[in-house]
Structures are given as C-alpha cells and as structure tokens.
C-alpha cells in the first residue's frame, strides 16, 4: 500500500493502538510498571484519547518487547527500541539525499505503520527535512527537491483528511514566501493537523489583501493564525487589521514568527509553540475557550453599595 502513489487515506493505514492494560499484557508487566517506565525512561510514550486515557502505539510496544528479550537492562532495551524506530528517519533522509522518491514514500509508509499521521510528520518527516536542510543547505537543489516532495506529501494528506465535523474554522495567514521556505513545511503540517481535528482550515497568503473581506465573511473564522516570518511586520499588521475589521475581535496567534525582529503590531496576539502539533492543540484550546460561556461570579457582592445594587436588580 503506497501512500503517495495510490489514493489511500492516511486513516486507512491501520495504526494499532493499545490500552494500558493491553500494552502491559504484551510486555508481561503490570500497568503500574508501564507507567513507571514512562516516568523514568520516557518510553513507551503514549498518546491520549479524548477521555485522557493512555493509548500506546503497537509498534513502540512491540519494539520494546523484542528489545527486552535481548537486553541487559530496561534502559538498554529502551535505547535499542528507540534506535529501531528511528530507522525511518535515517531511511527518509537517505532516500531524499539520493533523490529516490519511491524510497521516500516507502519510508513514510513504514512510519505510518507505527505511528499516527501527526507523529509520523513530527517524528519522521519534519526532522528528516531539518537534518537534510542542515546537511545540504536550504538554498540548494537537493533541498528544493526534498522540500517539494514533503510539501506534496503534506498536501496529499490534507486532501485525504476527513471532512470537517466541527462548526469551527481557522484562517491561516501564510507569511512564507513559497514551499521551499523551511517554515512552510511546518505551516502545512499545522494546517494538516487542524484539518484532521475536524476544523475547517483556509490558508491565504498574507501578501494579498484584495477581496479578503469577502473570504473572511464566508469562512467566519473562530481563530486566526499568522504563520511564517518572511513578510515585513507592516504587511502582516495590515492583513491582520483587515481580518479584524471584517470578523471582529478574533483570537490572533503567531506561528513560526520568531525570526522576525520587529513584533507584529496587532493587539492581543499569542505566540504558538514552534512544533505544529503543540501549536494546533493551542489553537483548538483557544477556540474552545472562546466558545465556553463566561463564568459568572456566584459569590454575593459585599458591602452596602453592593447590597443596594442587588436590591435594585431584584426590584
């Protein structure tokens, strides 16, 4: 099943997850021991379900089980299991450095067998591109080849994401110059993660403000993310102003804008984490906070002034 060549949804790539009791049974240890390993070794690293229960990746647990059979300590087994899982990154870097598209697709396919799409992107795709960028330089032809492949992979994954199930929408102001910018891949990843969370996402270039009001009115975004650091702060501020003029006071966030020397002149902006997954969680939390009704102060106001106000309100 080739993810890149065949129209297969990333959801169809079956990534098996285990509950704590199942993972513990597979490793023949108690759930408490598994949680102790997570605290001490940081491995296996579970994801959290909607109900905040631990969900272990089968690949991680299986790699640890194999390593435990040959190891002399839990530490060395964890080290060996991590090494086994990191081979995907080495394979992807090698494939992209050797201009082998099929092998690069296969590396991501292998990564998806052991991880969720989010983790495959964050633990394999983005680190591989970062390593390649450091190795060959982001102004080189090999980087252009790799960046275009990664951009295409992320866009395909985004197209294959399930349709939006939430009523919320996010507007992404893309301040990256093109897909060869190192930040552009992180922006694509952020769009992908938000889309996979069931939120409508629309990315628009920050450089263009003509007709922006119509788009914003149609989308009716709940949050705005200004991503990238290529454009001058004045252009970004103008774009943000136009968005706010149409949509009202929206939560405005900055993603990967840290290289900018001048701060963006918009009020109430928040800077998101540099990792796309953490950033997408922060944006979703912002939207949820905004939807939540304000908490009313139930404590009775103190003092004669407050008592008079209360009596007037009751009358």
């Amino acid at each position: 099943m080739a993810f890149a060549s065949a129209p297969v949804s990333p959801h169809d790539v079956h990534m098996r997850t285990l509950k704590t009791s199942e993972a513990a049974a597979l490793l023949n240890v108690s759930p408490n021991t598994l949680r102790a390993w997570e605290r001490r070794f940081g491995y296996p690293k579970p994801q959290r379900s909607a109900g905040q229960h631990r969900q272990y990746t089968h690949g991680e647990v299986a790699a640890l089980r194999d390593a435990l059979g040959q190891g002399l300590s839990i530490s060395s087994a964890v080290s060996r299991a991590r090494e086994a899982l990191s081979t995907d990154t080495h394979t992807l870097v090698g494939a992209l450095a050797g201009f082998e598209l099929d092998r690069a697709d296969s590396a991501m396919e292998s990564a998806l067998a052991l991880r969720s799409v989010e983790r495959a992107v964050e633990e394999v795709l983005l680190p591989s591109l970062e390593e390649l960028g450091e190795r060959v330089g982001t102004d080189s032809a090999p980087w252009a080849f790799a960046a275009r492949w990664a951009d295409g992979w992320l866009r395909r994954a985004q197209r294959l994401a399930p349709p939006p199930v939430r009523r919320h929408a996010i507007l992404v102001g893309d301040a990256t110059p093109n897909e060869l910018d190192p930040d552009a891949l992180a922006v694509r990843a952020l769009e992908l993660f938000c889309g996979r969370s069931g939120v409508r996402v629309m990315a628009l270039p920050v450089a263009g403000v003509s007709g922006l009001a119509d788009v914003v009115a149609a989308l009716s975004p709940d949050a705005v993310v200004i991503a990238g650091s290529h454009l001058p702060a004045d252009d970004v501020a103008l774009w943000a102003y136009r968005v706010r003029a149409t949509a009202g006071p929206l939560p405005m966030t900055l993603f990967r804008g840290s290289r900018q020397s001048a701060p963006v002149r918009t009020t109430g902006t928040r800077t998101l984490s540099r990792t796309p997954f953490a950033a997408h969680r922060q944006v979703l939390a912002l939207i949820d906070d905004r939807q939540r009704p304000p908490v009313r102060d139930v404590a009775p106001p103190a003092g004669p002034e407050a008592g008079r106000e209360r009596r007037e309100a009751q009358a």
Partner: protein
C-alpha cells in the same frame, strides 16, 4: 504431607556451578515460587531485568554493581551504584566503562588489564576474579570489585564492595 513445590531445581552453568537470579537494578533476588517465570522484568522494582550469575559473584542486597558488554559499554547500573557515582542509569547506558571506573591497583602493569579482563569475561571466557578500582576523577577512594560472567545475554558483572 511434604509440600513438593518447596523442592525447586537448582540452575547451574556449564561448569556445574550454581546460578542465582537477581534484578539488574535493585539487586533483589526474586522468589522462585512467586516470581512469574515468563517475564524478565523484576517484580519488585519493575525497573530492571532479572539476570543470572554464579552464587559467589551475584550481588547481595545493596551491593553496587554494573553490567558491561564486550564493547566495554555500560549496559546496566544498579540503584546502589547510581547513588554511589551520582549518575542515572539512563545517562550511563551505552557509555564506556572507563568514563566511570578506572583501575586503582598499584601492582597492575597497565590500565589495560581491567578492560582486557572485562572483555574476556563478557565474551564468555574467564573466571570470577577481583580487581581494585576507583571512580574516574576521584582519588583516595578505592573499591574491591568482583568481576565475572552474567547473563543472559552474556556480559560482565562488576560488583563493588
């Protein structure tokens, strides 16, 4: 009536010497009757694998010890050794043994003796022997060390006393 489950077979190595099991982290010897045989993980602390060594070499309770493989990399550090050297096992694993211990025997002709001995033992040869060692970068502190084979897989066990 005699309870037959109290009679347990004694495991021996290829030379016929009795082997005992111990946890590679806390050093506690698992109780044969209660320890689950299918799991190699210590049922007491959950942070070490159960290993075997000769009865005269295996660490007693609270003996600090390290386990080293044929490449002289540290594979396990006991909880007592962590406290003694002020290191974490997670940081020490895969590092060279010389980063933690060096020979301190004035009569030894060279520092290579300890390393050669460890390679021999971890590789499957060598008898249980003793050496004098000291922590790296520390002077005036010396330990007697019992060194011998343990497993599985095969490795060198260095017990400080």
């Amino acid at each position: 009536m005699r309870r037959l489950h109290s009679l347990r077979p004694v495991e021996v190595d290829e030379r016929g010497l009795a082997l005992v099991s111990f946890c590679g982290h806390c050093g506690i010897r698992p109780h044969q009757a209660t320890a689950p045989r299918a799991s190699r993980v210590c049922g007491h602390c959950g942070l070490g694998l159960v290993l075997q060594a000769g009865a005269d070499l295996a660490p007693r309770h609270d003996d600090p010890f390290l386990i080293i493989d044929t490449s002289l990399s540290v594979c396990a550090v006991s909880a007592a050794a962590e406290a003694l050297f002020g290191i974490d096992e997670t940081d020490a694993v895969n590092k060279h043994i010389a980063d933690f211990l060096v020979p301190a025997d004035a009569n030894a002709p060279s520092a290579e003796n300890l390393l050669t001995l460890l390679v021999d033992v971890a590789g499957g040869g060598g008898e249980i022997c003793t050496a004098v060692v000291r922590p790296r970068q520390e002077f005036g502190v010396r330990f007697w060390a019992r060194i011998g084979p343990c497993g599985s897989p095969r490795a060198a066990l260095l017990v400080l006393s």
